[in-house]
């Protein structure tokens, strides 16, 4: 079946798709959620904690959309504030200290825009994650499971390997925002989606992501076990190879991954 970029945008935004926590619950054992950035608060748009992956302790971090309307309000529609990114970085540094690999699940329309977010340094929080993740001495894998919106997604996306689900999108801005800036008309989002090249297939062709994870035509929710199994295999394969690399080589390759773009 063929999907237009705009079809993909709509599929990626479907409330029926599994959320970050669904992946965590399916792929890991003994997940213990850890809360708070130790600075200001606990941002519920980002969930993080420690868990076991086939006996290996790992740190998992996920942007979390709500599973229903009420939950979505609690999760701020998965649009993190600065404290969400700071919590993520705190957990990542903790992972580095205890030599745990880090697995991130990206699913956000973008970092939240608001007065509080600006007052508390949204730009600084994202920037610090980008620079810090480049130097973290532990393997990092990132999966863009549905929506990868802008700097808000990239702040969990500086990794040794980045994958996208077949119908996921990853872009500089929402197609609506993009259309309103470049075409001065936010209703031309469909056209923007075409021009932006935001599908997993585009990004793979560009060499920006390392692979595409299959999902059914009807979306991951129609056969999520199959998708989970594929992610499970990728995590196992990548962690096995990354754990065997010298840290310096791993970091040089991580740097090169972005350097060449």
């Amino acid at each position: 079946m063929n999907f237009t970029p705009w079809n993909k945008v709509q599929i990626a935004r479907s409330p029926l798709r599994p959320t970050g926590l669904d992946y965590i619950e399916n792929l890991f054992d003994d997940f213990i959620e850890l809360h708070g950035d130790r600075r200001f608060s606990d941002d519920k748009a980002i969930v993080g904690g420690i868990a076991s992956f086939k006996g290996i302790p790992v740190t998992v971090i996920a942007q979390q959309k709500g599973r229903n309307t009420k939950d979505n309000i609690l999760r701020n529609f998965s649009m993190p504030h600065p404290e969400g990114y700071r919590k993520a970085l705190r957990l990542m540094k903790q992972a580095e200290k205890f030599k745990r690999p880090i697995i991130c699940f990206v699913d956000t329309p973008g970092a939240f825009c608001g007065i509080g977010a600006e007052e508390r340094g949204q730009g600084e929080a994202i920037a610090t994650n980008l620079a810090s993740m480049m130097l973290l001495k532990t393997p990092i894998l990132t999966f863009v499971i549905s929506e990868g919106g802008s700097g808000g997604a990239l702040a969990l996306g500086v990794a040794d390997r980045v994958y996208m689900l077949r119908h996921a999108i990853y872009s500089i801005l929402s197609p609506e925002g993009f259309a309103s800036i470049l075409y001065k008309d936010s209703s031309r989002a469909e056209e923007a989606a075409n021009d932006m090249k935001l599908t997993a297939q585009d990004l793979y062709k560009f060499g920006i992501i390392d692979g595409i994870i299959d999902e059914s035509d009807g979306g991951v929710q129609t056969n999520s076990l199959k998708t989970m199994r594929e992610i499970d295999m990728i995590i196992e394969k990548d962690l096995t190879s990354l754990i065997n690399e010298e840290t310096k080589d791993m970091l040089d390759k991580r740097y090169e991954r972005y350097r060449k773009i």
């Binding site: 970092a111 825009c113 608001g114 007065i115 977010a117 600006e118 007052e119 508390r120 340094g121 949204q122 730009g123 600084e124 994202i126 920037a127 610090t128 980008l130 620079a131 810090s132 480049m134 130097l135 802008s150 700097g151 990239l154 702040a155 996306g157 500086v158 990853y170 872009s171 500089i172 801005l173 925002g177 993009f178 800036i181 470049l182 021009d195 932006m196 090249k197 935001l198 585009d202 990004l203 062709k205 560009f206 060499g207 920006i208 740097y255 972005y258 350097r259 060449k260 773009i261």
Partner: protein, 323 residues
């Protein structure tokens, strides 16, 4: 020599360049760094000021009409009311460095290869390049400030609002890599609307690329000062602008992640007075100091002097050396 331009404090020079080499090679399938930017060939022609002599400018704040010449000799500060006009990269640089000393421009020829093949973008760039004499929105040099060697990048707001695409990302990355190799400090003057939309995901990835190069420069114990000027927003704020060891800003500059209009639309309420201005960021702890344009060179040179042991040939294991 560039110093001629600085001495005249004229705006960027016009250049003829070879359009043939800008033609995109759609057939080229190879996925490599070369796919995203290309170094274009151009011939030097005589330097001509971009702005015709004698033209006047209107102050946005007090409405007075001011001769450009007077304005430029006054560091682009309104002589009537003190408002700051935007500065081009060359104008800015001429107020900061030792203009009579050697100044080498790097990677001038780096331009984008239009990685998305975005409709109309290539034509827009060509027009802009012809009109401004710039190839993209950043000037990268190695120069001296009060005899100290330093790498400096200055973003140019006249070029697509200083937006960052692959060319700016590549030039900044090379700048940090060079400075790391040579143990030199870096100053970046930010002035940008954010990541460049027309290069989509490639622009977004420049944020990671530049931040990575900067992180390695920092890890080597070297000094990076970012100077925020009006406006600094979006992907630039969310990467190198906010990563300075020391972050300075010009007074009243707009600095933020999301633009004020977008925030206002999102939350549906009026924004407080002074929101996202330099003074607001200072108050909230996100910048170190607000520095008036006329004091910038002095403040920068003092900071550089205080870091000299670290930044020139020092390793991070040596805390200080006394001679």
């Amino acid at each position: 020599m560039l110093s001629n331009i600085f001495r005249g404090k004229q705006y960027a020079v016009s250049k003829k360049y070879n359009r043939q080499s800008l033609k995109d090679n759609i057939e080229e399938k190879k996925k490599s760094i070369k796919e995203n930017y290309v170094e274009i060939q151009y011939q030097e022609t005589e330097c001509k000021p971009n702005v015709p002599e004698g033209i006047v400018a209107k102050c946005a704040k007090c409405g007075k009409i001011i001769y450009n010449k007077l304005l430029i000799s006054n560091n682009k500060i309104c002589p009537e009311c003190g408002a700051y006009f935007k500065m081009t990269a060359i104008e800015r640089l001429s107020t900061i460095i030792d203009v009579d000393d050697l100044c080498i421009e790097y990677d001038k020829q780096v331009t984008t290869k239009d990685p998305l093949k975005f409709p109309g973008y290539k034509e827009k760039l060509l027009n802009l390049q012809k009109r401004t004499g710039l190839i993209d929105g950043i000037l990268v040099v190695k120069a001296k400030i009060k005899t100290n060697d330093i790498y400096i990048a200055v973003m140019d707001p006249v070029f697509l609002m200083g937006s960052m695409g692959t060319a700016i990302g590549e030039k900044l990355t090379r700048l940090f890599e060079r400075a790391t190799k040579e143990n030199l400090p870096v100053i970046v003057f930010c002035s940008s609307g954010g990541a460049r939309m027309q290069e989509g995901i490639f622009s977004l990835m420049q944020m990671a690329k530049v931040s990575g190069a900067l992180a390695r420069h920092s890890e080597a114990g070297l000094l990076y000062i970012s100077v925020l000027t009006d406006p600094t927003t979006g992907g630039v704020t969310a990467s190198f602008a906010m990563l300075g060891d020391i972050i300075l800003a010009e007074p009243k500059a707009l600095i933020g992640f999301a633009g004020p209009r977008v925030i206002q639309q999102t939350i549906g309420q009026k924004l407080p007075e002074g929101f996202q201005r330099s003074e607001f960021l200072l108050e909230h702890g996100f910048i170190d100091k607000i520095v008036a344009r006329n004091d910038m060179r002095e403040v920068l040179s003092k900071i550089i002097l205080l870091h000299q042991n670290k930044s020139q040939g020092g390793s991070k294991d040596e805390f200080y050396t006394m001679e």
